[in-house]
């Protein structure tokens, strides 16, 4: 079965390295994946504050398209790397299932455009697919340059596991930890795995938003991590791109590499760093020297 890839608006701009590395890793593991044809915005966070109904409609169109693309009778598993999109689609999926009236309204609207959503489409995150469908055995076998000695703080962020994710624990998620361990990395135990990074507040109300990101970076550093692994473009952006600003603001040098977990997988798989978008990171990630890892310049 082929997975249907839903990029969302971020993965083709600020989250580019996420898309590149995920596709490289999926290819390396021979996971068939095809982008959703003519996908539209998931209707996430910001949209919700204008119109809940329309936001659900946007998600519904995507899911309807996915079902059509998968073809009747086939399972329609959408791979959604962006946590905000993942939540947006998942939320719509739940609410349409739980609220008949809402369901009717949305179905009606889709009908106008000749679309139909049966509820068959499943919303999956790459972590979910890798751990539960592919399995750690396949991942471990693919590792060429284990990340020995690399201390990784796994950061899941908020919208990935809350409130609908069922593939991992909402309080103590572990899927990313499992993968990192499989790559030979050392996982740093820290309590802020799912604490909010500030979301869009980092841009709109920097004093508030960036403080949240700063707290995360500081704690991760304190626990001696070499790199923070993320699974969400906004988390990655917030944690990485404001570091120089934070250093000024909080008068403490902040300099922590923040990579997508898929990039770290790619490094361990020994894939071409260009394919992993490592050069697109502001703060360079150092592959563990022990195993002759190369330095990646920013």
């Amino acid at each position: 079965m082929s997975y249907i890839y839903f990029p969302g608006c971020s993965l083709q701009s600020t989250g580019k390295p996420y898309e590149e590395s995920m596709q490289a890793v999926f290819a390396a593991l021979n996971i068939p994946i095809k982008e959703l044809d003519d996908w539209n915005c998931c209707g996430a966070t910001a949209y919700m504050s204008i119109s809940e109904l329309k936001s659900f409609a946007l998600s519904a169109r995507n899911m309807a398209l996915a079902e059509r693309q998968a073809g009747a009778g086939n399972s329609a598993d959408m791979v959604v790397p962006c946590a905000a999109c993942y939540l947006g689609l998942n939320k719509a999926h739940h609410y349409l299932a739980e609220n008949p009236d809402l369901n009717a309204k949305i179905k009606g609207a889709l009908g106008v455009a000749g679309l139909n959503y049966s509820g068959r489409a499943r919303i999956r995150h790459p972590l979910d697919v890798l751990v539960n469908d592919i399995g750690m055995k396949a991942v471990t076998e693919r590792v060429k340059q284990p990340l020995k000695g690399m201390k990784v703080a796994c950061y899941y962020g908020c919208q990935l596991v809350r409130p609908y994710a069922d593939f991992d624990d909402q309080h103590e998620p572990t899927t990313m930890d499992v993968i990192m361990k499989a790559l030979g990395a050392e996982v740093v135990d820290w309590p802020l795995k799912t604490r909010c990074c500030g979301g869009s507040l980092t841009g709109t109300v920097p004093d508030v938003g960036q403080r949240l990101s700063y707290i995360l970076l500081r704690e991760a550093k304190k626990r001696g991590c070499d790199v923070i692994a993320t699974a969400c473009p906004l988390c990655q952006f917030n944690l990485e791109c404001y570091q120089s600003e934070m250093s000024r603001k909080y008068e403490a040098p902040v300099n922590v590499p923040v990579a997508y977990f898929t990039q770290l997988m790619g490094m361990a798989f020994g894939l071409d760093h260009k394919k992993l978008g490592l050069k697109r990171l502001f703060v360079p990630v150092h592959a563990p020297a022990a195993v002759g890892g190369s330095h990646v310049a920013a």
Partner: protein, 210 residues
Amino acid sequence: MNRWEGWHKVRYESELAPHFAAEIASIPGGDHLYSCIQCGTCSGMCPLSHHMDFTPRQIIAMIRAGFKADVLSSYTTWLCASCYSCTVECPKEIKLTDIMYAAKRLAIREGVYPKRFPIAVLADEFFKSVERNGRSSETWLLTRLYLRTNPFKMLKQAGLGMRLWLHGRLGLKPESIERKSELRSILKALEKEHMIKRKGNTAPLKEVAS
């Protein structure tokens, strides 16, 4: 400003909106609102509550009591980053995040939102861009945002923008889907169902003192 103004501590029944709670509770699963025991778990979980003028728990109490004006003009709902930690931990299964959204929608519909607060503008721009193109392109979104709120900020952010562009992480062409008409027809079909009248969000956002 005069320290005797601002949030005065006496509320007359005539100032309250008795149906406010019902209005909020009408969202899917919203009726859990009525089982709030004011335990404060939401505020305690919230990573942003210490920046809010009212804690999430207070917002629930105010909604139930009909403090509509105070809720809609408070920073709290706008500072909610939708991290859902309150929703997940609420012992009474109150969907606080959804309630925050509902309050934001009302605030926008009624053209009421706190002064110098770009979040509503972001939402509005985001909304329009998606209605227009089916997708939002971060670059244009942020540009519009800064133009509408604080152009100087844009200059401050120019460095970051440049850096992103150099790292190939800034799409400059506006994103768009192919079958725009298809999407429009879907959204149009919902207009009448729409909780917010279309003009509601095209009308310039009125600012209120906070």
